[in-house]
Symmetry: C2
Subunit: 424 residues, 2 copies
């Protein structure tokens, strides 16, 4: 086989419609930003991946894109070195505060991941192998996802398309949303995005879900919007009711305090979102489940390293999701299928995406009984729909959003809103 | 690309001549045992690796060999599952007590590694890629090794070939041996296998080496043959003189006690030789350098996972060696070249091997300025010399040794010998 050197990289920012989903920061804006990364090689093979699409990420990706030209798609160490050099001392940036504090390491990891995934896709296309096979082989051909439930408004403030999900502002609304989502997708696990309403209301929502879906695992994620005291109270009220309690309170020491007083496993994608944060967390026993995410942990191999760390320290492994398109879903499915100890159902925002919006030929992957089957073609096994990419890029150009700002969008409706955490 | 399914596995035990090298267990026997594993695929491609060759290992390899037939060489997860199942509840065995206590996990890891490395070789041959490239790319094309110095007798008791190295039983002998080894191979680092003579004599040997080779890093490895008290004394005497102090005393708690009183980094390939042993070591701060070894850590990917763990917990990473042939040297070179934080010069027993004995075409890899260049061909980039394998297999058949027994061989000369540790 000849080399497979990168000759150019195309980065296309896209915007997809996003419903008014509520969280501890505020509310999702009418459009979410992503980017499509295409790595062109001298053999004519093109590897693709999906990344964040905010201005800061795009600037980083463009700098890295110039630097990686000439690298072989198998030479991930060289790719990493060049991306780190290109990112250099540039100010750390995070596409959202909902995945924890920004750091230089995380900034490099995010930029690298976008290229690493595309390189794996190219490797697969070149060798006629699926990415899951290059990652060590599928331990499961079907990857389970969870129903990601959100408190939400019926519609955005202003003149925007109305999503089909309707309002969900109380336990009844959440149960109704869950029923609809479970009926449509077949999810076996439920996750409630909390930190929105007073904890007592969210406790009621969890209990309503438990009653409506007996035996189905339920998680709640208030995105660190509770004090340690509040977390103690909620944890006590939900003992035995949760699969795990995700990021009740900010910071590793705070999480450790909460963990010390509950039998519920604490999970995180906020206080441990990089390797550098693992030692303190292990020392303090802060969390028992880490939510991986190849987009910010540094790609597929980094996720496998994280999985090995979790095995070694007897930590559970799950997977986090930000709003995404089908290309990210394909990547998530491949790495999850190759990771034996990723045993929890993964988060995904797919149900919140308009069914008519995606970047893949065929409109994206589908769920059966809550699971996505690993695509069977070489590489990631999915193909870009050029017209669809062009449409979503056009939408990016006209949507007016250039960085995610859940706080600012909430301020349209509630001018006094600050998004400051913990609020309860 | 079609599948690359394993259709059969050949396991050939071989014996190579071994000089009377002294260690804390006793003395090397006149022959060391290894095995050559050949994984045949339905595409006609054959992947090769080198493993231990004692009876217990051979029995395990044979059981696993039957179980892995039908597995694709890329499907390492399935390979792992099948090997673990084949090993089953069989009694844990270790090819030598010098790599720590046996455990079930380590037994599985050892058996798996033999197949995983051969599968990587096959993957490389099938894709036209070097193993180092499949492992993420070469961060270095030349891998540094250290001069592995041993106290030794001039010859074995009995009627055996005499090696060309002569006797080394005191600081002068060790310095003379080092000079010869450095002249011949160009090694830039020196490692003394200690735990043989009273510590004061070995301290003198280290100091003599430091004087004879100014500026060159020196390590000493008494294989846990010192009490904590003795270790404190030796560490104090060698403050500032050692690159690291390897396994002065048995067990993680003992190592932690030694570590607490010295500025010398402690290293190990005895008290932390599996992932299960890492948490306690981290908690107690027992070691600052882990010596990897793909043969017992579970192969290439496991070594990369170990490397990620070491990066995360700010531990150094080096590499251990048992007596081996050129096929293992090739494997060690590939994984080291792909591992950025494997920054110490690796251990190798290569100089102790007869120059006329190897299993590779061309007689094995060569050292220039203490380093081995990563072979350039696909896979591991080396080829079996069938006649050489046959000769060493014949030697295996006639040598009479079926498991390593340094204690027993020492008892030929010193009947009262027990090999009990710590002796000093």
């Amino acid at each position: 086989m000849t080399d497979l050197k990168i000759v150019s990289v195309a980065i296309t920012p896209v915007a997809l419609k996003d419903p008014p989903l509520l969280n501890s920061s505020g509310v999702h804006e009418p459009f979410a930003l992503r980017s499509i990364v295409e790595v062109h090689t001298d053999a004519g093979i093109v590897g693709i991946s999906e990344a964040y699409g905010d201005d800061a990420t795009l600037a980083l990706l463009h700098r890295a894109a110039t630097a990686v030209v000439g690298t072989d798609v198998f030479d991930l160490n060289e790719l990493s070195r060049r991306v780190a050099e290109a990112v250099g001392g540039s100010e750390a940036s995070s596409p959202t505060e909902l995945i924890g504090a920004a750091s230089h390491d995380k900034t490099v990891a995010q930029a690298f991941a976008a290229f690493e995934v595309a390189c794996f896709d190219a490797q697969g296309k070149a060798t006629g192998r699926r990415v899951v096979d290059l990652l060590g082989g599928a331990v499961r051909e079907r990857v389970d996802y969870s129903a990601y439930l959100f408190y939400k408004w019926a519609e955005h403030p202003g003149d925007y398309d109305v999503d089909p999900w309707g309002e969900a502002l109380d336990p009844d609304g959440i149960v109704k949303q869950a029923r609809r989502m479970v009926e449509r997708y077949g999810f076996g696990s439920l996750k409630l995005k909390g930190g929105v309403f007073p904890p007592e209301e969210e406790i009621e929502a969890v209990k309503a879900l438990r009653q409506a879906f007996p035996g189905r695992p339920v998680r709640i994620d208030p995105n660190a919007n509770w004090t340690v005291e509040t977390s103690h109270r909620v944890a006590a009220a939900l003992e035995g009711e949760l699969e795990y309690l995700e990021d009740p309170t900010p910071g590793i020491p705070g999480m450790a305090e909460v963990a010390a007083k509950t039998s519920l496993p604490l999970a995180t994608n906020m206080c441990v979102t990089s390797f550098a944060e693992i030692p303190e967390s292990v020392r303090l026993g802060a969390v028992r489940v880490i939510l991986s995410d190849h987009h910010f942990w540094g790609g597929f191999r980094a996720t496998q390293n994280l999985a090995a760390l979790c095995r070694t320290f007897d930590l559970g492994l799950s997977m986090h999701s930000n709003t995404h398109l089908g290309l990210s879903l394909a990547a998530m499915t491949h790495i999850a299928a190759a990771t034996p100890n990723l045993t929890y159902a993964l988060d995904t925002h797919t149900p919140w995406k308009s069914e008519t919006e995606d970047v893949l030929v065929g409109g994206g992957l589908t769920f059966t009984d809550g699971a996505v089957t690993v695509p069977s073609g070489p590489g990631l096994g999915v193909e870009l729909d050029r017209d669809a990419v062009a449409r979503l890029h056009e939408q990016y150009l006209t949507c007016g959003i250039r960085r995610r700002d859940d706080v600012g969008w909430m301020q349209r409706v509630r001018p006094e809103w600050t998004g400051k955490r913990p609020r309860f």
